[in-house]
């Protein structure tokens, strides 16, 4: 098989589709799976930057945050129709990515990490100060989005398959991008910027476009996350969350969107499992993550390739 990454992704999608029917159909499991899939989308979008472009962003949670707060703002204005809210959430995050990316992408390496972190913190403190939307305490949504006036998303199983459908779409999109002309330039500039310039490509516009696309997908994840939890708080934008996302990407391996997908699922599920095992789960989780970074070069995707 020439495309093992596709097989892996399809196997994961099949498992996620079957999950509700093989014992994971209760509300609790569905919520957990939805959360895992949503972080899957966010991690895939971040992997476009980190893996595809070599752009290590430590501010990606802000993209989710902008999407989530778009839901809040519209909810407060009594707009809860998905066909309105989703495009606004995506658009707002894309715009935020465009404005911050236009500046951040002028830098590279450690400076890029720091400036994305700074923009993320800016967004974090901004949401904390939004008294109208609950400030630090956050904002509770009493209902999920409506789709053409229907409240079908309230049903866990419908929400599950909505997230799965979007996850597949996001995976396919990012995979296509990486194999396109655009992706080729992006990766060339990641590997050898001077070479990219020497054949005629100025990396900046390609990187900025990737940043905006990743931001847009992050915004979509944020909209979904708000609806999964029916609650939004500034904690969504905390830099720790950006770190988690970065971790998922690295844990999965930088070889493509299927890696980020595996990283996100593993991260969310292991975190949940450990939390149930012991209340000191963080003491185990931290070292576990460090272990993975040290001993699993190429991440989970790398393990599968060798195994």
């Amino acid at each position: 098989m020439k495309r093992p990454d596709v097989l892996i992704a399809l196997a994961i999608f099949a498992a996620l589709a079957a999950a509700p029917f093989i014992g994971f159909g209760q509300g609790y499991s569905l919520t957990l799976l939805a959360r895992a899939m949503i972080f899957g989308m966010a991690a895939i979008s971040l992997s476009l930057l980190v893996g595809g472009g070599g752009l290590v962003s430590l501010g990606h949670a802000a993209m989710l945050g902008v999407g989530a707060y778009a839901v809040v703002v519209l909810d407060h204005a009594r707009i809860t129709e998905a066909w309105m809210v989703v495009p606004v959430g995506i658009g707002a995050a894309a715009l935020f990515a465009l404005v911050t990316g236009a500046i951040a992408i002028r830098t590279s390496g450690v400076h890029f990490i720091m400036i994305t972190l700074a923009f993320g913190q800016m967004a974090f403190f901004t949401t904390s100060s939004l008294a109208l939307y609950g400030g630090d305490d956050g904002y509770t949504l009493y209902n999920r989005l409506e789709v053409f006036g229907s409240r079908a998303l309230e049903r866990g199983i419908v929400f599950h398959f909505t997230c799965l459908g979007l996850l597949i779409a996001v995976w396919a999109l990012v995979r296509a991008l990486l194999h396109s002309r655009f992706g080729r330039v992006l990766q060339a500039a990641r590997d050898n910027e001077t070479r990219a310039r020497a054949v005629g490509f100025e990396p900046y516009p390609y990187r900025l476009a990737a940043y905006v696309i990743a931001g847009a997908i992050g915004g979509l994840s944020g909209v979904l996350l708000a609806n999964a939890a029916e609650f939004v708080a500034p904690a969504y934008l905390a830099w720790q969350r950006s770190g988690d996302l970065l971790f998922m990407v690295i844990l999965g391996g930088l070889s493509g969107p299927h890696g980020a997908l595996m990283g996100a699922l593993a991260f969310v599920l292991i975190e949940e499992w450990l939390a149930k095992l012991t209340e000191h789960w963080r003491l185990i989780f931290g070292p576990l993550l460090i272990f993975c970074v040290f001993f699993m070069r190429g991440g989970i995707a790398g393990l599968l390739r060798r195994g």
Binding site: F182, V185, R197
Partner: protein
């Protein structure tokens, strides 16, 4: 003059107290190989950096086909038809040899803001990439990741990438460096064959190759052009002997 493709006018560049380009003026015509020789540290690579746009000169002018490109960015100059190879091989290690060449083809083949179609399935890109690889004799290694190529093959790829740009001017920085005798001979044959289509500025330490290939030679020492002329003139120039050529090479 339509045949004058590249013209340097009074180029100067200093690195702190060190003058690396000292009032250099030279030109390059269509259909010629103009060799630039000089001892290590003479400023040859620095000059190529300024022509290609990696470095900005402190003063002076660079004209490409009559257009002042002194202040244009490297990518822009490349798209205009000014291609360079690097003394230290500069390729995309994670791409195959073909993908490396196809990247260069892609740069002059419509927009690269295309997001969905797999680039690897674009026949037009692949054909031209393969043509460039074939020209340097690398076609059998087309699907090998560039990182896995031998040193000599990487030098061939470096040249193939420049050819895939279909430039008007080729700036070649020691294309033979580090290649075996057989590879060097092959590359020399290729360079000789390219003369008709491109104007080539060739930096090379391999003196037999330079004297065999070059139509004109400029000698650089400590940033200055100390001699200029046909291979015969250069061979006979006493200043050149002193500054650069070993006796055995001149003999």
């Amino acid at each position: 003059m339509a045949d004058l493709l590249l013209e340097l006018r009074n180029l100067r560049k200093r690195f702190g107290g060190l003058t690396v380009t000292d009032d250099v003026s030279l030109d390059l015509k269509r259909g010629e190989i103009h060799a630039l020789i000089g001892p290590n540290g003479a400023g040859k690579t620095t000059l190529i950096h300024q022509i290609s746009g990696t470095l900005a000169p402190d003063s002076g002018q660079i004209l490409f086909a009559g257009t002042d490109v002194t202040h244009l960015r490297m990518a822009k100059r490349a798209r205009m038809g000014l291609a360079r190879s690097f003394q230290i091989t500069s390729i995309i290690p994670s791409f195959t040899a073909r993908e490396n060449a196809a990247l260069a083809v892609q740069a002059r083949h419509g927009s690269s803001f295309r997001f969905f179609r797999p680039a690897n399935s674009e026949a037009a890109l692949n054909e031209e990439a393969m043509a460039a690889l074939t020209e340097v004799g690398l076609e059998r290694r087309a699907e090998t990741p560039a990182a896995a190529l031998s040193h000599g093959e990487k030098r061939q790829l470096e040249l193939a990438i420049a050819l895939a740009m279909q430039p008007r001017v080729l700036l070649l920085d020691e294309p033979l460096a580090g290649t075996g005798a057989e590879e060097a001979e092959r590359l020399m044959r290729i360079l000789g064959g390219l003369r008709a289509r491109y104007a080539i500025l060739l930096i090379e330490h391999d003196m037999p190759a330079v004297f065999a290939l070059a139509d004109r030679i400029s000698v650089l020492a400590q940033g200055r052009v100390i001699a200029h002329g046909t291979p015969e003139v250069i061979r006979a120039d006493p200043a050149v002997r002193d500054a650069y050529l070993g006796e055995d090479e001149v003999a």
